[in-house]
């Protein structure tokens, strides 16, 4: 096989045409892992033997009767807060170093049923919060575009592994940007689906009412292929939506002429002014959308600070409740950063929490009204290129507000895609959000953008050394 790292869509076509063997594909991923992960720390646990056995089984089945779907034989990884039967699931924490679940999380089960090949478990911030931490059992993941830089988190290993081609796709989770943030800084695609679309059963909570599970991959099309396998009602998740599941790739390639995209300029130009490189990426992206025939409109929402305050109060409180028992009895066993977040729970009263949830309803209604007549809205994903990994502020929560939390608060789907390269050759990104359950439209817009721009042809330099 070629040394080029295929996308899921490309690999699926080649596998179906019997031009690519799942075993060769898996071996190529494992070779890259052995060559690069000593520096990247994207994996906390490799399942090499299982991966090769699954790849051989996939190959036999495909040779006998063709692939059962487009994920059959595709090497993937799971964030290490996703329960995996018989495989360690540590949540990046000292608390769970010996934890071996006896069942798979719903998302692990669904990806396995689709025929994917599980290569291993991926680095996460402790219980999907805080980070980067250097006082956990495993080191933090590093950015493949420059390993002195941060990946963002908390799906840090998934971002690094996909960008470096160690896997073709992976699972992330997103409470305030933990899929889209690493996707942006690692130069890949990642979608936080509509709240309730993908079951959270068997995934460690960060903040119950803000938690989402979703795919991360090199392209939006690959994310669509993964979401096809992941979406669907699950009675084990009390927030699981009961909706018909559309074909997420049906609108790809149909162009975006006439689609209406709202631009929330004040988020990234006033409320939290982004870096020059990020602004250049956004400005160029808007020109691309105009060239593709989309109509751009100005959108005005409450200041980003309002969304951040609402989301932070909810997130702090729900996390403190989820981990209260260990906080009371073994606080010192958490990493410094996770401990600091948990301590904040003492400051938020019950009334503060309810006021935040009342504000949530108002903000969601505001977004709903603003999106009437629009197909998507656009803003930044991250304020700047990746910081140095040892220069990430511990209390970033109180610094300038992030761009991703508004869509966790609202539960609306949002995707991050690479929009070029800024300072130091590091990736920059745009974020597109859609109406609830309108993921097909989001994929249509994101895919059109990726195909109209050259950024998907460039991988991190470290991947070409082997």
């Amino acid at each position: 096989m070629s040394d080029a790292i295929p996308t899921i869509a490309e690999a699926a076509r080649q596998i179906a045409a019997k031009q690519l063997s799942p075993v060769e594909l898996t071996r190529a991923c494992l070779a890259r892992i052995h060559a690069l992960d000593g520096e990247l720390h994207a994996f906390v646990h490799l399942t090499e033997e299982r991966a090769l056995a699954d790849a051989r089984a996939a190959e036999r089945a495909i040779m006998a009767g063709g692939p059962k779907g487009r994920l059959h034989g595709i090497p993937i990884g799971l964030k290490d807060i996703v329960d995996t039967k018989g495989i360690p699931t540590t949540c990046g924490s000292k608390f769970l170093q010996d934890n071996i679940p006896d069942t798979d999380a719903a998302c692990a089960e669904k990806l396995a049923a689709a025929g994917t090949v599980l290569v291993g478990k991926l680095t996460t911030h402790e219980f999907a919060d805080g980070g980067p931490s250097f006082d956990l059992p495993a080191p933090p993941a590093r950015n493949p575009w420059n390993t002195e830089h941060f990946t963002a988190g908390s799906s840090s290993g998934t971002g690094a592994a996909v960008a470096a081609g160690l896997i073709l796709g992976g699972i992330g989770t997103d409470t305030g940007g933990s899929i889209r943030g690493p996707a942006a800084l690692c130069g890949i695609a990642g979608i936080k689906p509509t709240y309730g679309l993908v079951s959270r059963a068997g995934v460690a909570p960060a903040a119950y009412s803000l938690d989402h599970i979703g795919p991360m991959a090199w392209t939006a099309e690959d994310c669509a292929l993964m979401l096809q396998a992941l979406a669907g009602h699950d009675p084990r998740d009390p927030a699981s939506a009961s909706r018909p599941i559309p074909n997420y790739t049906a609108l790809l390639g149909s162009g975006i002429k006439g689609l209406k995209i709202g631009v929330i300029h004040h988020f990234h130009e006033v409320d939290h002014k982004v870096s020059e490189g990020t602004q250049r990426g956004i400005t160029a992206a808007l020109a691309t959308f105009r060239d593709l025939g989309a109509e751009l409109r100005e959108v005005q929402l409450s200041p980003l600070q309002d969304w951040a305050a609402c989301g932070s109060l909810i997130s702090i409180t729900e996390r403190a409740a989820a981990y209260e028992e260990w906080s009371r009895t073994r606080l010192g066993d958490f990493s410094e950063r996770m401990r600091s977040r948990l301590m904040l729970g003492a400051f938020v009263s019950g009334v503060d929490y309810v006021q935040a949830v009342r504000r949530r309803r108002e903000l969601r209604a505001e977004l709903q009204a603003a999106m009437a007549g629009l197909d998507a809205v656009l803003t930044a994903t991250q304020p700047a290129e990746a910081a140095k990994i040892d220069a990430v502020p511990k209390w970033d929560l109180f610094e300038k507000p992030g761009f991703m939390m508004p869509f966790n608060i609202a539960g609306y789907p949002a995707v991050s895609v690479c929009a070029g390269f800024g300072a130091g050759g590091l990736p920059v990104a745009i974020q597109l959000a859609g109406k609830p359950f309108e993921e097909p439209t989001l994929f249509r817009v994101a895919d059109a953008f990726e195909k109209a721009t050259p950024f998907r042809s460039q991988r991190p330099a470290m991947t070409s050394v082997n």
Binding site: G196, Y208, S209, H233, P235, P238, A239, S240, A241, S242, Q305, D306, A308, A309, C310, S312, L313, I316, A320, E324, S327, R328, L331, R339, S340, L342, M343, L344, G345, A346, F347, V348, S349, D352, V354, Q355, A356, V357, R358, R359, R360, R361, E362, R364, W395, L397, F398
Partner: protein
């Protein structure tokens, strides 16, 4: 929530939360209290008593069967 917090109030809140902190941790936590107080103030709006919170979950078909 007032933006400043004194030691007695901090000790009360930590005791209520069941958290045992070192003097150093308490001192650090005091430095971010104002930030959290500002967030709590920001979500308070003149909305009246009838304004309800967002509901966590909706009813699914299965709940109605």
């Amino acid at each position: 929530m007032p933006s400043e917090i004194n030691d007695a109030a901090l000790d009360y809140l930590l005791a209520r939360a069941g958290l045992n902190l070192t003097a150093e941790q308490k001192a650090e936590l005091k430095t971010v209290h104002a930030g959290l107080a500002a967030m709590a103030e920001r979500v308070r709006k003149p909305r009246g008593r009838m304004a309800e919170p967002a509901l966590g979950y909706g009813f699914n078909e299965g709940d109605l069967a």
